[in-house]
Symmetry: C2
Subunit: 331 residues, 2 copies
């Protein structure tokens, strides 16, 4: 039911994902009257792997997390999360209210041992492929200990999903020198270094997010969220400028369209916005958050990301790694 467009986008995405992934099964939770009209084109084969569970109760996109926690029971989001905690689903995908998904995810699924707060992680494009960045907005105030936990989770994510043996972990800061940064970042740097089991490359600056210098970018949720959205804004500025030169009716516009539509599409994928499907890391289960503004293709990608994480057994790998690492630290 979530996102800017609701079932109008999420249901066609489900249908598309079902036909792309023959082993996928989807159970959707929401208001049947809003869902049905978008299921008409479902194939016989997909229909056998698709189920609608009706619920009247939906958490509003602008609901406060605290309200969602108090009154969320029986909502489509709560029921979808409950599927994962009950072992009836391998992952939960939502385009709904992020704050609500966080608090309900935490309450329904519980945290992994040793992790205080979940973090939002996503792949971002780089010159050479992609890197992971966290936290992207789950925590607006983070202590150094949280940043260390993010580093451990991000590193394990890169190991599990991309099979990088020793992911390079960088800590986002205003400069690369030892003396730079605020107190919490300096302390976090010391903690990550002392931890000793991460391939920590030290401080990185904003432009390193995209340079490919590291595989995991660690920052607090305020910085991560503002930063990623600013990058999306920059990308949009470029794309709009290019687009306007391509839709011009002149001969130049015509040639541009003929020759460079491929390049243009490639450039569009450099918009971090297109990397849809952020994971809520730190929970005992896979929860994927899709952008509210995501279109059919983007939500399909988010479902694909969930499938990928299920196949690569991300949560159990993270939990194994975390348990080992954190037990070692604390005892």
């Amino acid at each position: 039911m979530g996102g800017d467009f609701g079932p109008r986008v999420t249901i066609p995405s489900c249908l598309q994902a079902l036909s792309r992934h023959p082993n996928l099964m989807i159970r959707v939770f929401g208001h049947q009257d809003e869902i049905y009209p978008h299921t008409r084109k479902i194939s016989r084969d997909s229909a056998a792997r698709f189920e609608i569970v009706h619920t009247d109760h939906v958490i509003a996109m602008d609901a406060k997390p605290s309200m969602a926690l108090r009154h969320g029971k029986g909502s489509s989001m709560h029921m979808a999360l409950k599927q994962v905690s009950d072992g009836l689903a391998n992952a939960c995908v939502s385009a709904g209210n992020t704050g609500a998904l966080m608090v309900l995810g935490r309450s329904v699924l519980k945290m992994l041992p040793g992790i205080d707060r979940p973090a939002i992680i996503s792949a971002v494009p780089t010159h050479s492929g992609h890197s992971y960045m966290l936290d992207l907005g789950a925590n607006v105030d983070c202590g150094a200990e949280n940043l260390l936990q993010f580093a451990i989770m991000g590193s394990t994510m890169a190991q599990a999903v991309d099979q990088i043996e020793q992911p390079r972990v960088g800590l986002l800061n205003v400069g690369q020198e030892e003396i730079k940064g605020n107190e919490q970042v300096k302390l976090a740097s010391r903690l990550i270094e002392e931890h000793g089991r991460l391939n920590y490359i030290g401080y990185i600056e904003g432009d390193d997010i995209f340079s490919g210098r590291c595989d995991v970018v660690v920052c607090d949720g305020f910085v991560g969220n503002v930063c990623l959205k600013a990058c999306e804004g920059t990308a949009q500025l470029f794309i709009d400028k290019l687009k306007s030169s391509m839709i011009s009716s002149s001969i130049k516009g015509w040639i541009a369209r003929k020759l460079f539509s491929g390049l243009f599409n490639e450039l569009k994928t450099l918009n971090p916005d297109q990397y849809n499907g952020a994971s809520l890391l730190g929970l005992r289960g896979i929860v994927i958050k899709s952008h509210g503004s995501a279109d059919v293709e983007a939500v399909t990608n988010a479902i694909g990301e969930a499938l990928h994480e299920v196949k690569r057994q991300v949560p159990s790998r993270i939990s194994d790694r975390l348990e080992a690492v954190l037990l070692e630290r604390h005892y």
Copy 2:
């Protein structure tokens, strides 16, 4: 002497600025043996408006601000700043160590009354022109009161330089809803609102920096610095991708070069990196900081920016406005 390239870039920039601006006079401070070789091509007319003051002492690019403060006396940076406080120059431009420039600027020029800390402000490109963003890295830890002061300074800058009567001021946050953000941002929002004399439009998100929704973007120096560099990284990613398609030897690359070099140059200007010449706001005098990596054209722009601020009497306008506003607040 500053920047990644020293006099090899800064001196040709001076020569270029002198020939562009017939009323400009430049006095450079640094090691004469390093400066002279780059002055050979100076015109007779420019030579009459150009002066070299020799100094052996230069503050290293990686010197700690505290060291610069203790041992900076007699350095090229210190002497250049002193020109402004002594009334011998209207502005100081430096491509040197930012931290050192901050602390020396503060110690030599002193702060405007009512301002606790200087902030780094720069214009950033938007869909419709540009906006101002501050702080870009002078203060990694800011309280709400600092953010209010940044809002006042930024607003006055937009009034003075761009002659916008009521500049729209936005506060960078992770969401636009009242409930979003960390404590310091929430408190700053209340202070700016209560202040009552700013055209405050409330919270803005990262992508609004470039949307043109506001004229002044207020944030703390950690977020501002990381964010701007990340945007430069995104822009670079796009430019590199475009460039690689244009330098290909294929016929497609040839057509691209012929048809789109104009567009390409236009896109390059969308890189925030090109908006060279950030101002240190809050000091009793004009101090412009050029990027360390700036090329000849970019440093020339920074000198041009200084000239522009002198002509528009930025510091005295800001100080007038600030004095009025702050007196009103405090008494």
